[in-house]
């Protein structure tokens, strides 16, 4: 089997031919075929410059096997056919088509086609005419039938509504209007203003003194979607025009129009096929002005109003509310895709229900679009739904206009089923939702102003802040030291003089001992003992007591015995002084005791 498949490829002579009628008439439909007998790829047909391609290329394959004398052959033909229509008289050449077979490129022959004068169909008194098969040429005035395309404005703004009308003008009755080619409306958003299949409403119009019957064939509201120059290609159609035979031509100008779209079953009529093309339309679409364009502008052009409505302003939690925004007016209303409504974040908001009420009239598109938002407040409180602004460009005033709705205030009370924190989504707590971002506010607390690019570092003040405390420190230390020195000198002097003073006191006491003046004697002894210790240990007189003396002596590591003896001596002195009886009797003993203890302490302190 594999072998069988391979054989025909080897044994084949490739032929690639163009076949077609060589004589056609203007308006005729005919076929051009390119036939190849092998399986090729990358077929490229020629450009049919002077013809209209009705369909094509249509590919058809035909293959057959034959067994002759035990030898298998396969023949295969692939046909690419084009259905063409001749447009104008003359002699034309159809360029070769190309195809690649086994990596090799093949070309067809060129095809010469002579297009003759127009054929006219003349099947009088017959209705079953085949328009594509004309038979006889009849006279038909070039201006008898034509289509005129018209727009209500040539230089609209981007998105502005333009009414595009195709009108047929005729002086003869016509029928069987078949569309050949619809206008190319890419670059426009389009709304058909005449419903397909609607009854045409003919009327009469006089152009250059000639009366025509007219009817609107097509009517569109178009909205340019890009700026710049846009060309709308012509509407092309064919129709059958009914002409009276030559004998009746005189009457044509009289009351011909009454028979527009009449039954063609009339005596003396000729059915003539006619191809009609409208003029093409050039629109110069202006871009919308950039200056003063509102920030929230989203492309609406026309003239609109907005209404807003809320069904209740105080609800309980989890009760639904509905807010309606209705935008109505003239323009591309169906292109309004969304509104920027900012609902409080605590609200559950569903996508809006959009209902359109668009009226298509021969004068254009108008109507309204309603956005109905269903919202459910989940938490109690007072909420504001801010007014929304909707901006549009008004081509009449050539300005942007801003329309505004009302702001709503909604009171939400706690409903019976409200539970704080239990949210509908099943999450126990909600994250904070950040709605916007902005810089932080200015600082209101005034700071001290400094001179421009003032550096404290390296300034005189900076150096002074080092020097002055250092100087103060040195002065302080110096004075403190000096003070301490004088203080310690004083105590040293006292210390040194202690024995001397004590001796002096004792000497005085000795004198009083001789004169038996007991009062003065005891005074001197007491003075000697107390004063000695006070001087010796630098104890202020106010702090002088037996306890403090004992402490001071213990600190200086004087023996306990000595301390006791000293205290005893003091006691004895006091006792002898104030005891009843003769105070003079013990004076000798106490003098000796005092003398002894002072010299003893003196010795121990060294």
């Amino acid at each position: 089997m594999l072998l069988l498949m391979a054989v025909p490829l080897m044994a084949q002579n490739v032929t690639f031919k163009a076949i077609g009628q060589t004589n056609v008439a203007v308006g005729d439909q005919f076929i051009v075929q390119f036939v190849v007998n092998a399986n090729g790829s990358n077929f490229r047909g020629p450009d049919f410059d002077n013809f209209r391609v009705l369909t094509g290329p249509n590919q058809s394959t035909n293959s057959s096997y034959s067994n002759i004398n035990g030898r298998m052959t396969q023949s295969m033909t692939i046909t690419y056919s084009y259905y063409l229509r001749a447009l104008s008289e003359g002699e034309f050449t159809i360029a070769p088509a190309k195809i690649a077979i086994d990596g090799k490129e093949y070309q067809t022959n060129e095809l010469k086609i002579i297009v003759g004068a127009k054929n006219t169909q003349s099947q009088t008194q017959t209705q079953n005419t085949d328009p594509s098969n004309p038979q006889e040429v009849a006279e038909l005035d070039e201006n008898a039938i034509f289509i005129k395309a018209d727009v209500d404005k040539k230089d609209p703004y981007l998105g502005e509504q333009v009414i595009l009308t195709y009108k047929i003008y005729t002086k003869v009755p016509i029928s069987n209007i078949i569309s050949e080619k619809e206008p190319n409306l890419s670059g426009f958003w389009m709304k058909n203003l005449i419903e397909q299949g609607a009854q045409m409403s003919p009327s009469n119009e006089i152009i250059d003194g000639v009366e025509y019957a007219t009817a609107e064939l097509r009517k569109f509201a178009i909205f340019p979607q890009k700026s710049g120059e846009i060309t709308i290609s012509p509407l092309e159609l064919q129709c059958v025009a009914q002409m009276r035979s030559n004998t009746t031509r005189k009457r044509r100008s009289n009351s011909f129009f009454d028979s527009f779209f009449d039954d063609p079953f009339f005596s003396g009529y000729q059915n003539v096929q006619k191809f009609l093309g409208s003029n093409s339309i050039k629109l110069n679409v202006k871009a919308l002005p950039q200056n003063a364009k509102p920030a929230n502008y989203n492309g609406a052009v026309g003239s609109f109003t907005v209404q807003s409505e809320i069904n209740k302003s105080s609800v309980k939690t989890n009760d639904a509310l509905s807010i309606k925004y209705k935008i109505s007016g003239q323009g591309n209303i169906e292109l309004i895709d969304k509104l920027n409504v900012s609902f409080p974040t605590d609200f559950e908001v569903y996508d809006p229900k959009i209902t359109d009420d668009v009226r298509v009239t021969p004068r254009g598109v108008s109507g309204s679009r309603t956005f109905e938002y269903l919202i459910i407040p989940r938490n109690p409180g007072e909420f504001n739904i801010e007014a929304i602004e909707y901006s549009f460009f008004n081509p009449l005033t050539e300005k942007y206009e801003i329309i505004q709705t009302k702001a709503f205030n909604i009171q939400v009370e706690k409903g019976a089923d409200y539970q704080a924190g239990v949210s509908y989504s099943g999450i126990s707590q909600e994250d904070i939702q950040y709605i916007g971002q902005d810089i932080r506010h200015i600082k209101v607390k005034n700071e001290t102003l400094q001179p421009l690019s003032y550096f404290f570092y390296g300034s005189i003040a900076f150096i002074l802040w080092y020097i002055i405390p250092a100087v103060l420190f040195i002065i302080f230390i110096f004075f403190w030291r000096k003070q301490a020195a004088t203080l310690s000198n004083q105590s040293l002097m006292r210390h040194k003089k202690a024995t001397k003073v004590a001796r002096k006191n004792l000497k005085q006491a000795n004198q009083f001992l001789g004169t038996k003046e007991s009062e003065a004697f005891y005074n001197e002894i007491s003075q000697a003992l107390w004063g000695y210790l006070a001087d010796k240990f630098n104890i202020p007189l106010s702090e002088l007591s037996k306890d403090s003396i004992e402490d001071a002596l213990t600190e200086k590591k004087v023996k306990d015995v000595t301390i006791k003896q000293f205290i005893e001596c003091l006691n004895n002195c006091d006792f002898a002084r104030f005891a009843p009886g003769d105070p003079t009797s013990n004076m000798d003993k106490i003098y000796n005791e005092a003398l002894e203890i002072i010299s003893k302490i003196e010795r121990e302190l060294k």
Partner: protein, 252 residues
């Protein structure tokens, strides 16, 4: 003696503060205008204060905010950077600078720094030059106080404690002094600037006909490396270096 010390302290105080009631009232008016949303007048008043050759981080910050509200991002960034120079660790300044920087055209990735360098920078930027200088002085005075206590202390424990404290504070004071010095030196030798030309091509040499290296946009921060006539050599945060005309930038 005591009187002269008092006068000296007063003098020192006077040298560090330059308060003026005129500036304060102007600042209050400007702040009020900012609150009311009259940003262009607030800007004029803030700039009137600056014309008197005085500054504060608050003034720069508020002026930056006003420029931001007027959508002049380059000026806003310039004044935020100026405020940051005086008060490097202020949260509000850094936040607003971040927001302004996120809105400019160029998003220049900065060269990543090693962690110790980052730590150092954080420490270094804790205070401004002047604050570091003040810290150094404060520590120095504390050192003196401790030294006095050490010298006059009677017990061994007190002497030991205040000797070590004194040494510690002396070292800290010296360290702060050097940080302050370093910052002072850096700010006087390393200039930074903000680009004010909407779009500018950075050249390979200080010459109009030299090779185009890259394009930067308004609001980007550049580090000035050198200046030759009307041209400056700049480096951007990602390390790229090139030349720009000096008229296209404003110094921070």
């Amino acid at each position: 003696m005591k009187k002269s010390i008092f006068i000296l302290i007063l003098l020192l105080g006077a040298m560090t503060s330059f308060g003026s009631t005129k500036h304060d009232s102007l600042l209050s008016i400007a702040n009020q205008q900012y609150d009311e949303g009259i940003y262009h007048e607030a800007i004029q008043n803030y700039q009137l204060i600056i014309e008197d050759k005085v500054e504060s981080s608050q003034l720069y910050y508020n002026l930056g905010n006003a420029f931001y509200k007027m959508d002049d991002l380059a000026s806003a960034i310039l004044y935020y950077e100026k405020a940051k120079k005086i008060n490097p660790n202020d949260e509000d300044i850094n936040y607003n600078l971040g927001i302004a920087n996120s809105r400019i055209v160029d998003n220049i990735d900065s060269v990543p720094q090693i962690i110790f360098k980052r730590w150092w920078n954080q420490f270094y930027n804790m205070f401004s030059v002047n604050l570091w200088a003040k810290v150094a002085i404060g520590l120095f005075i504390l050192t003196l106080v401790f030294a006095a206590i050490y010298l006059l202390g009677r017990t061994r424990f007190i002497k030991k404690l205040f000797f070590s404290l004194g040494i510690l504070f002396l070292l800290l004071s010296i360290a702060s002094y050097f940080v302050s010095y370093q910052k002072y030196y850096y700010t006087n030798t390393h200039k930074e600037a903000i680009l004010f030309a909407p779009t500018i091509t950075v050249k390979s040499s200080p010459n109009r006909n030299s090779v185009d290296l890259f394009v930067i946009h308004e609001g980007s921060k550049v580090y000035i490396l050198d200046q030759v006539g009307e041209w400056i050599e700049i480096r951007i945060a990602n390390g790229s270096v090139g030349w720009l005309p000096v008229s296209s930038i404003k110094y921070i």
